[in-house]
Amino acid sequence: MSAPSGQLGGSFGRGLPGWARPREEELAGAGRTRLIETTLLLLVGLVLAIATVNDVVRQVHVNHRLVADLRSWRQYTGHAYKNLSVEQDFYGHTTRDIVCGNVAPGAPKERTQLCLVLSGPVVAGRRAARGGFYLPAKVEDIRSYRYACYGSARSAGLCPR
């Protein structure tokens, strides 16, 4: 390739062959490359926008369910405790969430805990408790600690026996 007029001539650049010298303007074909790049950029932008909106919608649903779950536990138990623990299915494979809280006033998890298995749609800001179980004080919600399973918790085998 011969040296086009668009090449730059630095002291080192002058020692390079024509095709390797720095250029003032892009070589021919840049317009087509630019078109392809722009198309790809738009596609990537579209994917990012869809992913962002999808994630926002997913999080809003998760938050919506979370608020309904907390409200439902308080209504079922009659305790207006602030500190409840919630185990959610974040990825929408099921609508089942488990909400646990103390059966008597005290620091979080310092009393026997009542856990409700909530599922189904949010109706009037609440969800239905279709089962549940208990946990001893001062333990995390691990299957081996659960006892007195009833309803859907029992049929789903959430308790060890």
Binding site: E24, E26, L27, G45, I50, N54, V67
Partner: protein
């Protein structure tokens, strides 16, 4: 932002209505007020958005109320709308060649300065990173520990320890030795003095970046006021970057120093008078010493935060001279020697730090969002490999374009944008990296893409606004 002007018809035939200056003034007030709201409410303390901090803005504490997510996000959205409106007005007026009647240079610079001052006098916003910086400095100066070997948990009795983020207490520093040494003089100032020192560093770096951006835009025949408006009013830059006193601003300063050196001409005047196509850098080529200095500035920036090293291959491929290679090698040798003498071999093991950070995953990253889109719970190791492969392809393509004459500054900006978008650990201040480059290049797609990515980030942040009240 300026005195009202009568309706005029600009050079491009755009009618500048009487309301444009009034609207610009209103948007400027909104932008300043929204920023002030965040700062004043943040100073009240006890907020999940404001890191626990020593009392540096106590005198503002009685004015505002505790900063909640809703107020914060509404203030950010107001800032974004005001920012977009001001840019639209500035662009419209620029096209009409009668900008002075809508946004005067003096008023625009005054607004940028006001935003900087508002954020500077307030508390540290949204991130505990600055306390990690201080902890690493105090580890070296006050406790004789190597911050490249130990995390802040090794100084659990130090007053700064309680302010370091939980996730970072066992993590050794990932920053370059130049930054660590730069932070050392702040350690003996005490905790409050060091926080103010960090804020001063961030402020100075921001002012320097804006000044160099102005210079670069003018050297390239672009509108310098437009360029500094895009950066200096940017809500992510002001609230997240400057508000958190992040060392990314120092990295940006080194980056723009390098770009400025490649564009500077001894005689002054614009580098490129006009032209639709992007030139591959300075024309006529600046002196070898300037190019060597530019490459050295990039290496210095990488010794603050490694990301900026992405510019170096593009500069070298564009210039094809020995000077930048020699400048980079000399700076690297000097930096490595200083790093080794100060911190041993761990002080110059940048690859280990980068590999460690590349494994982190944040919920705000686009990689995580795309994983959720495809029904996956998150990013898996194979996804990291795919993202790295994608980044390699993008960089290779950009290098090929640069070889063929594409603007190396724009190519560098695309590379930085690609790094932030493909990163699984995305933070607001990472998507500031390409912004100064985007405003000093003629490839407008880079600026549009950068602002679009920032907009998507903000949209993702706004989820709590849509949540029902518990």
């Amino acid at each position: 932002m300026s005195a009202a002007a009568p309706s005029v018809r600009g050079g491009a035939g755009v009618r500048l209505d009487w309301w444009a200056p009034a609207l610009a003034g209103l948007l400027a007030v909104l932008l300043a007020a929204a920023t002030a709201e965040i700062v004043v409410d943040g100073a009240a303390g006890h907020s999940a958005l404001i890191p626990k901090s020593p009392p540096i803005a106590g005198w503002l504490g009685g004015i505002g109320e505790r900063l909640g997510y809703r107020v914060f996000l509404i203030a950010v959205l107001v800032s974004v709308v005001a920012y977009a409106g001001l840019l639209a007005l500035a662009r419209r007026a620029r096209r009409s060649a009668t900008r002075g009647s809508t946004i005067s240079t003096r008023a625009a610079l005054a607004l940028i300065a006001a935003l900087h001052v508002i954020v500077f006098i307030g508390p540290i916003l949204l991130s505990t990173d600055v306390f990690s910086y201080i902890a690493y400095a105090r580890m070296g100066v006050e406790h004789g520990l190597n911050p490249y070997l130990h995390g802040p948990s090794s100084i659990a009795g130090d007053p700064v320890y309680v302010y370091v983020g939980h996730d970072w207490r066992d993590v050794a520093t990932a920053y370059g030795p130049l930054y660590t040494l730069l932070s050392y003089p702040l350690a003996p100032l005490g905790l409050v003095g060091a926080v103010w020192g960090m804020k001063v560093l961030a402020l100075a770096a921001s002012v320097g970046t804006l000044a160099l951006t102005w210079r670069c835009a003018r050297a390239r025949g672009l509108d310098p006021l437009w360029a500094v408006l895009v950066i200096g009013l940017n809500p992510l830059y002001v609230i997240y970057g400057l508000g958190g006193a992040h060392n990314d601003l120092i990295m940006l300063l080194a980056m723009m120093t390098a770009v400025s050196l490649t564009l500077a001409r001894p005689g002054g005047g614009p580098e490129v008078a006009s032209g639709a196509t992007a030139p591959s850098g300075g024309r006529p080529a600046p002196g070898a010493r300037r190019e060597a200095s530019a490459a050295a500035a990039i290496v210095a920036g990488a010794l603050v935060k490694a990301t900026v090293a992405a510019l170096l291959p593009f500069m070298i491929v564009s210039r094809r001279r020995l000077a930048p290679i020699l400048g980079a090698l000399a700076a690297l040798a000097a930096g490595a020697a200083i790093g080794y003498l100060a911190f041993g071999i761990h002080g110059i093991d940048v690859v280990a730090a980068l590999n460690r950070d590349a494994a982190f995953v944040s919920t705000d990253s686009f990689a995580t969002e795309i994983a959720h889109l495809f029904g996956k719970p998150g990013v898996f190791p194979v996804d990291h490999d795919l993202l790295k492969a994608g980044l390699v392809i993008i960089v290779a393509h950009l290098l090929w374009r640069t070889w063929r004459g594409y603007d190396w500054v724009a190519a560098s900006g695309w590379a930085l944008l690609a790094i932030s978008v493909t990163s699984t650990w995305l933070l607001a201040w990472y998507i500031l990296w390409p912004l100064p480059l985007a405003v000093v290049t003629r490839d407008k797609r880079l600026l549009v893409a950068t602002l679009a990515v920032q907009a998507l980030f903000i949209v993702h942040q706004c989820t709590p606004l849509l949540a029902p009240v518990a």
